[in-house]
C-alpha cells in the first residue's frame, strides 16, 4: 500500500471536514418600536467545510468528488473545541444553522486525489 493510500480517509454519513471559520458584523436594516427603519450591526458566524458530493445522477445532473460549503452557525461557540482539518459531526437547528460541531477525534490533510 502506498503512503497516499494509507492516509486516505473515507468520510462516513453526517461527517464533514472543517477547513476554517469566520465571524463578523454586517449592517442590516430593522424597524424599531416606533416603526422607524434603523441600521444595526448584526453578528454572523460561518463555518467552512468540505464533504463528498451527492452521488445522485439523473439525465440532467451528475457530480463527483468533494464540495466546499460555507455554513451559517448559531454562534462562535460552534468552533470552540475543534481545529481546522478535523473530521466533525455537525448538528443543525431548524434554520439549518450549525448549532454544534462534535469532533470525531480524526484530523485529515488534503492530498492530490484523482477521481
Amino acid at each position: 500500500m502506498s503512503e497516499k493510500e494509507s492516509k486516505q480517509y473515507t468520510l462516513k454519513e453526517r461527517e464533514w471536514v472543517v477547513t476554517g471559520w469566520a465571524e463578523g458584523q454586517m449592517e442590516t436594516e430593522r424597524e424599531d418600536d416606533k416603526g422607524h427603519k434603523v441600521t444595526v450591526m448584526q453578528p454572523y458566524y460561518q463555518l467552512f467545510v468540505i464533504s463528498p458530493v451527492s452521488s445522485y445522477k439523473s439525465d440532467n445532473y451528475s457530480a463527483r468528488g468533494m464540495k466546499a460549503e460555507k455554513l451559517r452557525c448559531v454562534s462562535n461557540a460552534v468552533w470552540k473545541d475543534i481545529k481546522p482539518m478535523e473530521v466533525v459531526n455537525l448538528y443543525f437547528d431548524e434554520k439549518k444553522r450549525v448549532s454544534l460541531a462534535a469532533s470525531t477525534g480524526i484530523s485529515v490533510e488534503l492530498i492530490e486525489v484523482s477521481f
Binding site: 468520510l11 453526517r14 452521488s55 445522485y56 448559531v74 454544534l100 462534535a102
Partner: protein
C-alpha cells in the same frame, strides 16, 4: 462512502411527562451538554427547547405536561451524543410511568432481500395477510411506498424505497420496512422481553405477512410466507424462521411418532438410565441431524416469538 449494513433502528420516539420539567427530561435524555435553543412550541404548547431534531415542548395547558419528540434524525442525534443508551432511556420512561405516544422501528435492507416492485405487486394482488383492512400503494418521484394500516391506527407498516427517496447512486439498494406504533402499542413494544430485532419480527409476524396463495386452504394466515418475507425476518432476528410450503410435518406428528412408536423403548431407557443420562445419550447420538427436525424446532421458536409479541401487544 461506507458500505451499509442491514440494521434495525429506532426512527421516531414521542413521549409525555406530567411530573418532570423540560430540564429534567433533557437530563434523562443524557443531552444536557448540547446547546438547546428556545423556540416556539406547537400543538398547544407555547414554548419548546430544540436541538438537532429533538424537541421538548412545554408551557401548554396544565394537564398537558411536557412533550418530548425525537424525529428520525433526532434519534440519530441521541445515539451519537447522549450519555445514555436506548435501553437506559426506555427503562427510565417505564419506571417513571411516562406515556409513550409514538415509536417507529425500522429495518433497512441494503442487501437486496426485498424487492419493492414485487411487494407493491403482491400488495395489489392481496397476496398478504394483515390485521388491518387498510392498504395503499403510492408511486411518486421518490419511488414506491406500500402502507398497510390506516394513518390513524395504532400499528401500521410502511415499506418504501429509501434509495429513491434519498436520490442515492443508481444501483443502490435500500428498502426500509417501518413499523409505526402508537400509544399502548408503542409502550408495550418497549417492554417486550427480547432484542429489538426479535421484537420487530414478532410484531411484524403478527401484523403483516406476504404469502403464497394456497387454493386448498381458506385460512390465509396458514398460507406459507413468501421467501422474501421469511428472508427478511431471518435477517432481522437471530432465530431462523421456517415456512416450508407443502411439508406437512408438525409437532403433533413428531410427538405421535415418538410416543406411540418408540414410547415403550424410551420408557425402558428412562427407567434404566434416568432422565439426565438419557438426555446425554440423545444429545451425543451418533446419527446425522435430520433437517426435518431442525426445521420443526425453528418453527416452534418462530411460533413462540409470534405468540409472545401477540400476548404483550394484545394484538
Amino acid at each position: 462512502m461506507e458500505e451499509k449494513e442491514n440494521i434495525v433502528l429506532y426512527d421516531w420516539l414521542s413521549f409525555t411527562s406530567k411530573k418532570h420539567t423540560p430540564e429534567e427530561l433533557i437530563q434523562a435524555l443524557g443531552l444536557t451538554h448540547c446547546p438547546w435553543q428556545e423556540t416556539k412550541g406547537a400543538h398547544g404548547y407555547r414554548d419548546r427547547k430544540y436541538f438537532s431534531c429533538i424537541s421538548v415542548h412545554y408551557n401548554g395547558r396544565e394537564d398537558m405536561g411536557v412533550w418530548v419528540e425525537l424525529s428520525g434524525q433526532g434519534c440519530r442525534t441521541f445515539e451519537s451524543l447522549s450519555s445514555k443508551s436506548w435501553d437506559d432511556l426506555f427503562q427510565w420512561i417505564t419506571t417513571q410511568q411516562l406515556k409513550i405516544t409514538r415509536l417507529d422501528v425500522a429495518f433497512d435492507d441494503h442487501t437486496g432481500v426485498l424487492d419493492i416492485a414485487q411487494i407493491v405487486e403482491d400488495t395489489r394482488q392481496q397476496h398478504y395477510v394483515s390485521r388491518s383492512d387498510y392498504w395503499e400503494t403510492v408511486l411518486s418521484s421518490k419511488g414506491s411506498t406500500v402502507q398497510i394500516g390506516s394513518p390513524k391506527s395504532k400499528v401500521l407498516v410502511r415499506i418504501y424505497d429509501k434509495a429513491a427517496e434519498r436520490h442515492c447512486e443508481p444501483g443502490t439498494h435500500w428498502i426500509r420496512v417501518e413499523l409505526q406504533l402508537r400509544d399502548d402499542r408503542a409502550a408495550q413494544f418497549c417492554k417486550l422481553p427480547m432484542t429489538v430485532g426479535e421484537a420487530f419480527s414478532g410484531v411484524v409476524l403478527n401484523y403483516l405477512r406476504y404469502v403464497v396463495p394456497d387454493d386448498t386452504d381458506t385460512n390465509k394466515w396458514r398460507w406459507p410466507m413468501t421467501d422474501y418475507w421469511v428472508d427478511m425476518l431471518e435477517l432481522v432476528t437471530p432465530i431462523r424462521i421456517y415456512t416450508a410450503p407443502g411439508m406437512d410435518y408438525n409437532i403433533d406428528r413428531c410427538r405421535e411418532y415418538v410416543v406411540n412408536q418408540a414410547g415403550n423403548a424410551i420408557d425402558a431407557l428412562l427407567q434404566i438410565y434416568g432422565i439426565q443420562e438419557f438426555q446425554r445419550m440423545i444429545k451425543d447420538r451418533p446419527t446425522v441431524e435430520n433437517p426435518k427436525y431442525t426445521r420443526l424446532v425453528q418453527q416452534y421458536k418462530f411460533d413462540r416469538l409470534s405468540a409472545l409479541a401477540e400476548r404483550y401487544l394484545g394484538l
